[in-house]
């Protein structure tokens, strides 16, 4: 669930005392928490509590009163002609996460900094201050204040815009202060990053994806939406990047096709991921193995299922015998295919590429399926004496003389493995073959399960069969596990 603000307030504290210059509850419902707040806390109290910490300038402001949390960032504005301290505070529910509080603090700081900049540039705040003071003297209720202020004050309008966007569930704030200073900010949601995001509520942020040169980028919003929102001054190569990306291409290919340096392509991808507009996956290929995510939505009439139906209503099954005749192409039907690990090439038997790739992309995007990766682990061989932790019989000895490792190999192995682990290596038969041992040594940094098979192949530029053969030869001390990876 995204954290939606209840209201925004602008308070000032200066020669004329503490003053609530502007208070707006946006589109919040009349019976929400926020109106309750106003019933209980009169305007002046609100101004006082929000301004009371104005002595702590340029620091995070976080105040909780019962079930409300006020988050802001007080500033002291000093020019040659006047000085005043002000605080733009957002009213949140007190149960919101520390991440959300941090995001709102950044937003308040960005707005405040822009306001100060505009004051130095065009005395924007001074004018707005006078205007808002005048309005607040004329009105009796806080509702009137916000209505009148939004109509006549630029500053109030800007704050109102930011607030309404957030209340509508868009976690991105993009406003322009005084038609000049641009403010962009992203409000982080409460969802812990380990849970695959579901796009049913458009306001959740993608989990932190890992961007690597072998990753492919999948947009979470539509291409049209994204390009519409880009500022006019946007880098033209970014447009090229957006038109080139595909779930089938890794960033290296994208950089070649779009004719931009790889480093820049990676930065673009990071940028999109940071702003919650994209996620990264391992590029879709025939050998990729997928399985249902534990969070997959198998419920027949769920919101996601109807979204799926809307998106892919016309997908027909090519091989009608493989499924019961006339079966619906519902989400649960597709998830059925991913009940057991399945490769894309196996799925191709059921659907053509034009249908399959969008569906798989959609399922990945909505966290319904996960890719299984193979990881490799170094473990002690079955009959060595163990590290003293276990007492076991030591019968078969003498026959298996450990292989003598050359000092050079030894040194190379020790770079990534412990002494004990090197002993395991020397006890295997496979280590007698020089070439195999050389390859094993070269790859020794990958034997702790920190890299998946595809990554190793990519980094070492190897053939899959070559690596699998090596793992097989060293099967005494290497074991593999297929583990679903959060992409």
């Amino acid at each position: 669930m995204a954290v939606k603000p209840q209201a925004v307030a602008l308070v000032s504290s200066g020669s004329r005392g503490n003053k609530l210059l502007f208070y707006d509850s946006g589109i919040a419902k009349p019976h929400s928490l926020e109106s309750e707040l106003l019933n209980k806390l009169p305007q002046r109290t609100l101004a006082e509590i929000l301004a009371s910490c104005a002595v702590m300038q340029d620091r995070k402001f976080e105040l909780r009163v019962d079930e409300w949390k006020f988050v802001g960032h007080p500033f002291l504005l000093q020019t040659s002609s006047w000085s005043i301290s002000f605080n733009i505070a957002f009213v949140l529910q007190s149960t919101c996460s520390p991440e959300a509080v941090g995001s709102y603090n950044s937003l308040s700081r960005a707005l405040g900094a822009a306001l100060i900049h505009e004051e130095h540039r065009t005395e924007f705040f001074k004018n707005q201050y006078a205007l808002l003071m005048q309005i607040s003297d004329q009105v009796d209720t806080i509702d009137e204040l916000s209505q009148k202020a939004v109509v006549s004050s630029y500053l109030a309008k800007t704050l109102h815009e930011a607030l309404c966007g957030l209340q509508n569930g868009d976690p991105h704030v993009h406003v322009i202060m005084n038609d000049w200073s641009e403010i962009s900010c992203l409000i982080h949601s409460e969802a812990p990053p380990t849970v695959p995001q579901s796009l049913t509520s458009s306001n959740t942020i993608a989990p932190k994806s890992i961007v690597r040169s072998y990753s492919a980028v999948i947009l979470l919003t539509s291409f049209e939406d994204l390009t519409k929102r880009l500022p006019p001054s946007c880098n033209p190569s970014f447009h090229r990047f957006l038109t080139t990306i595909s779930p089938l291409k890794n960033l290296i290919q994208v950089s070649l096709d779009a004719d931009i340096p790889l480093q820049q392509a990676v930065k673009f991808a990071c940028h999109l991921v940071h702003w919650g507009q994209a996620m990264t996956v391992y590029p879709l290929s025939e050998t990729n193995v997928y399985i249902n995510s534990p969070q997959a939505d198998t419920k027949r009439d769920s919101q996601l299922a109807s979204l799926f139906a809307k998106e892919f209503s016309s997908v027909a099954v090519d091989d009608s015998e493989s499924l019961s005749e006339g079966a619906d192409d519902s989400l649960s039907q597709f998830l059925f295919h991913f009940s057991a690990p399945v490769t894309l090439s196996e799925m191709r038997g059921l659907y053509t590429d034009e249908k399959l790739i969008p569906i798989v992309t959609w399922l990945l995007k909505h966290g319904q399926i996960l890719q299984l990766h193979t990881y490799i682990f170094l473990i002690p061989p079955q009959d060595t004496k163990d590290r003293g932790m276990f007492d076991d019989d030591e019968e078969e000895e003498g026959e298996n003389e450990p292989v003598h490792l050359s000092p050079e190999t030894m040194a190379n192995l020790l770079k990534h493995l412990s002494k004990e682990e090197v002993e395991w290596v020397s006890s295997t038969d496979a280590a007698r073959d020089k070439d195999d041992l050389a390859l094993f040594t070269k790859l020794s940094c990958y034997w702790h399960g920190n890299h998946h098979l595809e990554e190793i192949l990519m980094l070492e530029n190897m053939a899959r069969s070559e690596l699998l053969a090596l793992i097989d030869k060293f099967s005494e001390i290497l074991t593999t596990a297929s583990i679903p990876e959060r992409t």
Binding site: L41, R64, D66, P98, T298, S324, S332, F336, I379, T480
Partner: protein, 380 residues
């Protein structure tokens, strides 16, 4: 040490808001207090409200109280017992404590003028000292205030979404149950403890202990909240498990290794870590525990496969792939024997749950579902 400092602040008729007592005495809270004293000794609109504010690198949590009476100078006594934490501490556990603390002293003042009598007021520093020590050590403190009053405070986890306990869940103790038996005073818990062994599911426990299922569920829910118990799924040899991203931790964390080997051993011999890890790595979709036993013979390596699976699930090293039957169309022809099943066929109920509610075995359910071609079974 979560609570850095506790102070008692009041409105002095001459000096205004002051800190009358604080522990530890040398704690540098003065500056922060000066910045935010408006929120500690507040305006009447903020009385009795829980207020937490960040100042000077600290998070200050208090609940201002006031008693109006013309026997006080300025006709009111305003005071606040305040807890101080580091900034960015999650203070939700302590909030009820702060509220209760203020409320209790308000009562003591109303009943016996505790705060306005010199002799009793002078005991506040020692009360605060005890509070600080106990809150930071056990989180529970019982302090005798005077002959008639005892202050009892407890820092308790605040539960946003209590875990849902279902009939088919299998509770298991996170620590040895013998230890727990001596501690627990709850009557229901005492009744059901001996049946909580990591293999009995909730419905069975209720049946065995002859306690109503509703009460068993409530009791187990409490035990889960306080971290004594974890919920697992029913163990069966036809179950399928897959490794999770946490599995590699078993190779790197020594503490986890020791616990694992101790837990999964069959009899007195400790199994080898390599064997345990190899078996867990070999888990994959489509491979039931039965197949696993045929393939690896864990018992010959002195590994108890049931314990191994239990440990894997408890530590999140493996995940149980559950079957979810989905009826594709609601109005399709369904054999009469399947009629009682229909309400479970919307894709949100797993096999364990259905078996438990209908009292049928996994195999029977499988056979029933096979009879209708309109039902697909998703694993997840």
């Amino acid at each position: 040490m979560a609570v850095k400092c506790i102070f008692f602040s009041e409105f002095d008729p001459v000096a205004g808001p002051v800190i009358s007592y604080q522990v530890p005495q040398e704690f540098p809270i003065r500056e922060a207090f000066d910045a935010v004293h408006d929120l500690i000794i507040t305006k009447p609109q903020l009385y009795d409200r829980l207020i937490s504010v960040d100042a000077g690198g600290y998070r200050i949590v208090g609940c201002p109280k006031s008693i109006e009476d013309n026997r006080y100078a300025r006709n009111a006594l305003i005071f606040n017992f305040v807890l101080v934490f580091d900034e960015d501490t999650d203070t939700t556990y302590y909030e009820p404590v702060v509220q209760k603390l203020g409320g209790a002293f308000r009562t003591y003042e109303l009943e016996s003028h505790f705060l306005s009598t010199k002799s009793s007021k002078s005991t506040i520093p020692s009360i605060l000292t005890q509070l600080l020590i106990r809150l930071n050590s056990t989180g529970i403190c019982i302090i005798r205030i005077d002959d008639t009053n005892t202050l009892r405070l407890k820092v308790s986890p605040n539960v946003k979404d209590p875990p849902l306990v279902c009939d088919h869940h299998v509770p298991v103790f996170t620590q040895s149950s013998c230890q727990f038996k001596q501690l627990v005073k709850d009557l229901v818990a005492q009744e059901i403890i001996e049946y909580v062994n990591g293999f009995n599911h909730v419905a069975k426990i209720s049946h065995l202990s002859e306690v109503s299922p509703v009460i068993v569920k409530e009791c187990i829910q409490d035990l889960v909240i306080f971290g004594f118990v974890k919920l697992l799924s029913i163990f069966q040899y036809c179950n399928v498990y897959v490794p999770t991203q946490k599995l590699p931790q078993l190779m790197t964390e020594e503490e986890l290794q020791t616990r694992c080997l101790q837990f999964v051993s069959l009899g007195d011999t400790r199994p080898k870590l390599a064997d345990v890890f190899r078996i867990l790595c070999s888990l994959e979709a489509g491979l039931s525990v039965k197949d696993l036993c045929f393939r690896n013979d864990p018992r010959s390596m002195s590994i108890d496969e049931r314990k191994l699976i239990q440990f894997g699930i408890m530590e999140g090293l493996i995940h149980h792939l559950q079957k979810y039957p989905v009826l594709n169309r609601e109005n399709s022809d369904i054999p009469t024997e399947l009629q009682p099943l229909i309400k479970y066929l919307d894709g949100s109920h797993c096999f364990d749950e259905i078996c438990c509610s209908l009292g049928v075995s996994n195999q029977t359910l499988d056979e029933l579902i096979d009879k209708c071609i309109d039902i697909t079974v998703c694993w997840k």
